[in-house]
């Protein structure tokens, strides 16, 4: 019973870090769908080995599992074969381990809610540019071809949209949470 309770508490806390972990995996894998897969695999590992978390922070344990999954996914694709790629992978993982904290996570939902509201206000074409780049994982050249724009225009468009969104988020008050 106690064990079940402990398991439930650990899983609940771990699931609360879902977005942080996907962001972490996205930083390592640079692919949204792969990042979701890596976090899913990390969670499946957690449901089977939750009893090995003792003393570690749940976020740190999960990041460790996701890092392993991400590394395996990249190796399968032959993407961490060179020394430079390995060094970069480790540096990115370390950067997240330093910067990502449970306290920072507490702000995420609020930030996401604001972003959602602001994103709805930008023109559809800009939304598609952002979606193609970060959700679809398209390169600038490909995006430019598909949108019949120059590469420079796409680069500027994405940069401006991000600036616009940041400005909007700074202006947007915290909306009351829907229940």
């Amino acid at each position: 019973m106690d064990s079940d309770k402990n398991r439930d508490q650990i899983l609940k806390e771990a699931f609360g870090y879902h977005k942080a972990l996907v962001a972490y995996a996205y930083g390592l894998l640079r692919d949204y769908a792969l990042a979701e897969d890596a976090v899913q695999s990390g969670y499946v590992a957690l449901t089977k080995r939750f009893d090995t978390i003792s003393g570690d922070s749940v976020l740190a344990w999960c990041r460790g599992a996701v890092r392993l999954e991400a590394l395996q996914l990249l190796r399968k694709r032959g993407k961490v074969s060179s020394l430079e790629e390995t060094v970069l992978f480790d540096a990115v993982a370390d950067a997240f381990e330093i910067e990502q904290t449970p306290e920072r996570e507490a702000m995420r939902l609020e930030r996401l809610e604001k972003l959602r509201d602001c994103f709805a206000k930008v023109p559809t074409r800009s939304q598609k540019m952002i979606g193609g780049r970060y959700l679809g994982g398209l390169g600038l050249r490909e995006l430019a071809l598909r949108l019949n724009m120059s590469e420079a225009a796409v680069r500027k468009g994405i940069y401006r949209t991000r600036l616009l969104l940041r400005e909007c988020m700074e202006r947007t008050p915290i909306a009351p949470r829907s229940t």
Binding site: A23, V44, L112, L115
Partner: protein
């Protein structure tokens, strides 16, 4: 957030950094706290943008056509309109890259390596990882048969029966190797030159029907029923064997005509008769099981597609067809409107969705519905085959919800699954917070689904997706299933892996 590094970070995310830039980047992450914090912030923001962009795409599937049918469409020339339709078609959800190699596996452009088809498998016990289903396309590789009879149809036109115990290697449409076992081959004129190799000789057919009985030592008996074959052994002259003749070959390749060849060879008519009898027995077993399910209180809906009627749904379009065995009914879904409308009330903390399908197409960029509830509402399931030949069981989250959604498993189905009856099952357990997918009785993936509340089905479609006209966003994209379905069952419990495996084993074709 510090914006001066944005382009550098963006280049990292797009994989556009050179080796030298990668090393610089890693060094800055290690040594510059401002750079590091900005980087993590940028990646988190990018991920959040992807997430929000995904939500927007989810909520406007109709944009593919309708957004272009108004002012923009009228304002531009016909040629430009065609171009924009193409662009819009691509831009519509999920912004996926059609040239992504992961899609290549399921497109018509992917190389087809198969050389033969498994036409019949009667009482076959396979050994090892290659365990093809009846009707499956076969790629080069070794078939190990412990017992039973398999009938293969090579793409050259040659038909070969292999009787176990046997070890038979497919090399090409015109070439195979038999290391052990009894075979009988019928080779039409169009496949002349079809050859079978053993450890001690090679038999080249000149348009005929012949039998071979190959032992593990390499010794073999060959009997030609009709026509002529040539035997080639190393350092020996070729030998012709004519219809009515039999020959014995030892492990060294020495051959001699024999009058007392005692091997009995499988026969095509006999295999057909055994296949018919086997199918009839399986159908009878399935009928008894089907009857027993009527009293199973755990079943909330069952569609057996037998007797050309269904009790719990309304068939729209579709065509009645043959299912897994002669005498087993199935519904064929061919047209974009084909569907079975269903209404399955209730809330389910556990669910098992199970079906037998024959998939006939894997569209490059379109989901195929197994069971989709109307619209895309929170708590209501969507069970479907995504474009990459995967399998997904999802429900939409409420706006702003932050819980773990199950991903979809890619590449469950590939070209070799087309035209073959497959057993597909997905389970959900609220208590466990898990979704699991099974193909042909074996678990293929499990996903954490921290939903925390029951799922619902309600009104929906088997094999399609209906979005009522009153929906603000208008009609949805096509999701029609292309193939046949001969059974679907929905339980209000999570069946165990053993139960699912047993059901598959008992009722596979």
């Amino acid at each position: 957030m510090n914006h001066e590094f944005d382009q550098f970070f963006d280049a990292y995310l797009a994989g556009e950094l050179s080796a030298e830039q990668s090393v610089d980047f890693a060094e800055k992450l290690d040594s510059d706290p401002g750079f590091r914090a900005a980087f993590v912030g940028f990646v988190e923001e990018s991920h959040e943008l992807a997430s929000v962009a995904g939500e927007v795409a989810d909520s406007r599937p109709e944009k593919k056509i309708s957004s272009l049918s108004t002012s923009t469409f009228r304002a531009i020339s016909a040629a430009a309109a065609v171009f924009l339709l193409v662009v819009a078609g691509w831009l519509w959800w999920p912004w996926q890259n059609a040239d992504d190699p992961k899609f290549a596996d399921v497109t018509g452009e992917a190389p087809d390596r198969s050389v033969a088809q498994l036409e019949k498998a009667v009482g076959v016990q396979w050994i090892g990882p290659v365990q093809p289903a009846q009707g499956a396309a076969l790629e080069p590789g070794i078939l190990h048969i412990a017992e039973g009879v398999a009938q293969l149809e090579f793409y050259s036109g040659a038909q070969v029966i292999v009787e176990g115990p046997a070890e038979f290697e497919l090399i090409s449409a015109y070439h195979a190797r038999c290391l052990q076992g009894k075979i009988r081959a019928r080779v039409p004129k169009q496949a002349q030159g079809f050859s079978i190799q053993t450890a001690s000789f090679e038999l080249i057919d000149l348009g005929t029907e012949f039998g071979m009985d190959v032992s593990t030592s390499g010794a073999a008996n060959v009997r030609v029923f009709d026509g002529e074959v040539e035997l080639h052994a190393e350092n020996r002259a070729k030998q012709s064997v004519l219809g009515g003749q039999a020959i014995a070959i030892d492990a060294e390749g020495n051959s001699s005509l024999t009058q007392n060849e005692s091997s009995s060879y499988p026969d095509f008519a006999e295999v057909q008769a055994r296949a018919d009898s086997d199918a009839m027995a399986k159908l009878e077993r399935w009928k008894k099981w089907n009857e027993s399910l009527r009293s199973d209180s755990r079943i909330v809906a069952r569609f057996d597609f037998q007797d050309r009627t269904i009790d719990q749904g309304a068939i729209v379009g579709c065509r009645w067809a043959e299912g897994r065995w002669p005498g087993k009914g199935a519904l064929e879904f061919r047209h974009t409107g084909d569907r079975v409308r269903v209404s399955i009330p209730g809330k389910f903390s556990q669910l098992t969705l199970m079906t037998w399908i024959r998939l006939d197409a894997l569209p490059r960029l379109r989901h195929q519905a197994l069971l989709l509830t109307d619209e895309y509402r929170p708590d209501h399931i969507h069970w479907q085959i995504p474009p990459i030949g995967g399998l997904a069981l999802k429900a939409r989250l409420k706006r702003g919800e932050s819980i773990v959604k199950p991903g979809q498993i890619p590449n469950v189905f590939d070209q070799n699954a087309l035209g073959v009856w497959s057993h597909v099952c997905s389970t959900f357990s609220q208590q466990e917070g898990m979704v699991r997918h099974y193909l042909n009785g074996k678990e293929v993936s499990e996903h954490v689904f921290d939903y925390g509340r029951p799922l619902q089905i309600g009104v929906g479609d088997i094999g399609n997706w209906s979005v009522p006209a009153k929906m603000r966003t208008g009609p949805g994209p096509p999701r029609n299933f292309v193939g046949a379905m001969d059974e679907m069952t929905i339980w209000n419990v999570t069946l165990s892996p053993d139960e699912i495996h047993d059901i598959y084993q008992q009722h596979r074709p």
